[in-house]
Amino acid sequence: MTMFLIIAVSVLVFLVIFQIAKASEYVAVLKGEKKSQRQDNKINGFLMVVFLVLGLIGVWYCNEIYFGKTLMAHDAASVEGARVDSMLMVTVGVTGIVFIGTQILLFWFAYKYQETDNRKPYFFAHSTKLELIWTIIPAIVLTVLVTIGLRNWFLFTGEPPQNAMVVEITGKQFGWIFRYPGKDATFGKKYFKNIDNASNTLGIIWDDQLSHDDLVLEQTMYLVKGKPVKLVIGSRDVIHDVGLVHFRMKMDAVPGIPTTLWFTPKYTTKEMKEITGNPNFAYEISCDQMCGNGHYSMKGVIEVLDQEEYDAKMVGIKPYYYTAFPDKDPSMAKPADSLKLAAKPVEAASKVIAKM
């Protein structure tokens, strides 16, 4: 019902506007083309200034009410992210000045030089000097921005520090799988044809003994405050994207082509809750590349912990190998003998899976 009402009202408004417009056209004819054109000029010239003033106030007001809701209102949560923020502020400064300057000139000129009875336009077709000025100045300013940008770019995309931990993250429709290399700090090999949703979500090759202490988690990734982390990113099906807004990082997950990104978390999740004043705060991983109908729900969470908390957390997580082969799990058979068992040659059963 409201729908019909809205449509009816809009049609009515249309008709009224149309009648007014038509009437003003007749008036213009009666008054004379020239005179009514002058009047239109005056009105629109005035509106140019109104639009400029209201627009600039609007820009300020928009910033006033929404800045606090952006990420910029708080510190970036990674060391590298802080560089993004500072670069962003420089860019805002440069482009902001140009924006305000050129918009003022545009609307002010439009107002000031509107046609009047005694205005003579000035024949001004060319000036090499002026054109050189606005070629060279933007070029210099851009060089500065490019320099800042590329220094950061090479830092972000370069090798992570030596002490970085490595976590593998794999996207799938519609969720994330995380893998830690375990005690040996090396991932076991994997092959996509081994994937089996029940016991081997990543297609790990169990033949590879390096895989036996790998930890596989879903939903939550645990990281250590102050410790650089390198993410090795992959996808199981279509292209996804690891979006880490609080860390200011992002990288596509492409099937068949591993990608990486690294950063250094600066605050634990607990600290961020205080900084943002949001008790529900979480470092969310958002998928930022269209990946299907569940794209909007493809969420993961990163929990940043202190080293001690982290260690305590990880001790409690069993290697994925034991999920696949519960009978090999030492805690099921002989507790406290896990190291020996993990190092034993692989059994035939796992070979079969690997060949599948």
């Binding site: 809701k69 952006t70 807004v245 596509d252």
Partner: protein, 606 residues
């Protein structure tokens, strides 16, 4: 027809001007309804066909955006009437995710290709090139006609994909594989995607037929005296646009061919290491999903300029005419168009900074991308200087031209953010990007198109549009455009990803509920205002005030030397000869000096 046109062009080289030469160019052959309005070979009629078809698509595409904005603005509400319209796609009055993504995808495809490519350069290249260079028609009117009908066919196929059971394609207008290659990964990638590909292939054909024609006409069919440096900037812009299209659309087409092979014939160009839930591991190995993105963006980026350049050209012309003052720095304007056209081919990978691209390669693309800001800055400052000390007439076309400059500045500056890869890592695929490209490419080009329509409507139909409605249209649209897209920058700075159906489950992105509602409401109002414009347009074709002055804007260019309602062939009698550039306004105390006026002995140099 082309032979005849060439003959006529030659005829102008003869010095005799007999009074009875008037019959040249008049057509004596009988024209039926079909040859005049349907399968017309008259460039003016084809232009109108492109324009009106573009309008139909703009309404459909705009309506789609209204529908998905409804979901974004009111995620918790249900609208039972939606189910009446969309059936199972809005079961219970709420748009489903499938429908949402299909709407977003179709909105993007339709607006980019059908409205802002075909509707914009199809209309104005067809209409203005022969009229402004002084030709009776295009180099090949028949190819020109085919160009329209291929476009029409592309539209029909796209439209039919909306009615497929599994839905139209829903993987985003860029159609990245593997999502677009695998029907099992998304229902929209089944039949809907086949139709999408067929439609786009037809569109590429249309675009090539048109583009080759435009290039040939500009190069070969200029009237006597019309040297390249005397061309109006509109023609330069349309010329570069056509070259961009001819060089880049085939690359897109090759990308599509490989995609068709991957989809239907078991090849692995784009596919590797894929396990689909419910299907299992696919046999494909060794392909690269990134290859498609290179092929796509090799068109995709020039495409942005295919959309933008015609608008720039028309705006240059309209600003100059209505400032009653020459365009400032004509050669710099041509040079910057040229620079933009070259750079357009060298920056495609800036859409791919976060794909795992080699960082060194990325840095080259940063440099080349930010280089585009230089010719863009030249254009903006030249437009500003054109206004400076002019004598400005605020026709609706002029208002839209000024609006274009404003939007181009706003959207162009955010390009400096996104082109800098280190910032792009953070802003990529957020609402910041949505705001950026809608302002600089979407709305700005739309403004260029509106400016063109308001300016050349009298030439198209021999009638005048209602000015008051034009003014209302402009002020409501520019205010609305800023209200919609300006705050989106803030959503982007909050990291809100684009193409999300619902943000309520996200702690990081759910703080903008009010803003989303506001944006959706403004979008609906702005959409309604466009209907007002359409009403003005169609009403004026039939009931508008008749044009009495063949040169209503007191403009210098050739199209205003034709009769008010030019026939097929444009000029009665010989095609006029050109003696000067198009921008002699306010020169030597004269208000304007048409291009056809010979240079006087007492004239200051030009």
């Amino acid at each position: 027809m082309s032979n005849e046109a060439v003959l006529h062009a030659h005829a102008t080289t003869e010095v005799h001007h007999d009074a009875h030469g008037d019959h040249h160019g008049e057509h004596h052959h009988h024209e039926t309804f079909i040859t005049k309005y349907v399968f017309s070979q008259d460039h003016k009629m084809i232009a109108k066909q492109f324009l009106i078809t573009g309008m139909v698509w703009a309404v459909l595409g705009g309506l789609m955006s209204v529908l998905f904005r409804l979901q974004l603005g009111y995620p918790d509400s249900t609208f039972p009437w939606l189910e009446d319209i969309l059936g199972k796609w809005a079961a219970g009055g709420k748009i489903t995710p499938e429908a949402y993504y299909a709407l977003v995808t179709t909105h993007g495809t339709v607006l980019v290709f059908f409205v802002l490519t075909a509707g914009l350069s199809g209309t104005f290249a067809n209409f203005l090139i022969p009229l402004q260079v002084g030709a009776r028609d295009m180099a090949s009117p028949f190819m020109n006609m085919l160009s329209y009908w291929f476009f029409f066919a592309a539209g029909i196929v796209m439209l039919s994909s909306l009615f497929v059971e599994t839905g139209p394609f829903s993987g985003g207008w860029t159609a990245y594989p593997p999502l677009s290659a695998l029907g099992d990964a998304s229902p929209g990638s089944k039949t809907g995607m086949d139709l999408w590909l067929i439609s786009m292939a037809l569109f590429v054909v249309s675009s090539l037929l048109g583009g080759l024609n435009y290039i040939a006409t500009v190069l070969n069919m200029r009237t006597k005296g019309m040297s390249m440096t005397r061309l109006p900037l509109t023609i330069w812009a349309l010329f570069f646009t056509a070259i961009l299209g001819v060089l880049s659309f085939p690359v897109l087409f090759s990308g599509f061919i490989l995609l068709i092979f991957d989809r239907n014939f078991g090849t692995s160009f784009y596919l590797s290491d894929i396990f689909i839930n419910g299907v299992g591991a696919l046999p494909n190995e060794g392909g690269s999903a990134i290859l498609y993105q290179h092929l796509f963006w090799f068109l995709g980026h020039p495409e942005v300029y295919i959309i933008l350049l015609p608008a720039m050209g028309m705006v240059s012309e309209i600003l100059s005419v209505n400032s009653r003052k020459p365009i400032f720095g004509y050669m710099a304007m041509v040079g910057s168009l040229f620079a933009i056209a070259i750079l357009a081919f060298l920056v495609w990978a800036h859409h791919m900074f976060v794909t795992g691209l080699n960082p060194f390669l990325g840095s080259i693309f940063v440099l080349l991308t930010l280089l585009i800001a230089v010719p863009s800055a030249i254009k903006v400052f030249n437009w500003l200087t054109t206004l400076w000390r002019g004598s400005i007439r605020f026709t609706p076309a002029m208002l839209f031209a000024i609006g274009f400059v404003s939007l181009f500045i706003s959207g162009g500056l955010t390009g400096i953010w996104l082109g800098n890869s280190a910032l792009d890592i953070h802003l990529h695929d957020t609402y910041f990007v949505v705001a950026h490209f809608h302002i600089v490419m979407g709305v700005a080009s739309m403004f260029g198109m509106f400016a063109g329509i308001y300016h050349w409507f009298p030439k198209m139909y021999g009638k005048q549009l209602n000015n008051t409605l034009g003014y209302i249209h402009f002020w409501a649209t520019i205010a609305g455009a800023y209200l919609i897209f300006w705050p989106m920058h803030y959503q982007g700075l909050a990291g809100m990803p684009r193409r999300y159906y619902d943000f309520s489950a996200w702690e990081s992105f759910n703080q903008f509920g009010d803003l989303n509602r506001f944006i959706s409401t403004v979008a609906m109002v702005v959409f309604a205002v466009q209907i007002l414009f359409l009403f003005n347009f169609f009403h004026s074709i039939f009931k508008g005030r008749k044009l009495t002055n063949p040169n209503p804007w007191e403009s210098n260019t050739l199209e205003w030397t034709t009769p008010i309602n030019p026939g097929h062939g444009n000029w009665v009698g010989e095609i006029p000869e050109v003696h000067r550039w198009a921008y002699d306004y306010a020169k030597d105390g004269k208000e304007f000096i048409p291009q056809t006026t010979p240079v006087g002995a007492d004239e200051s140099q030009h």
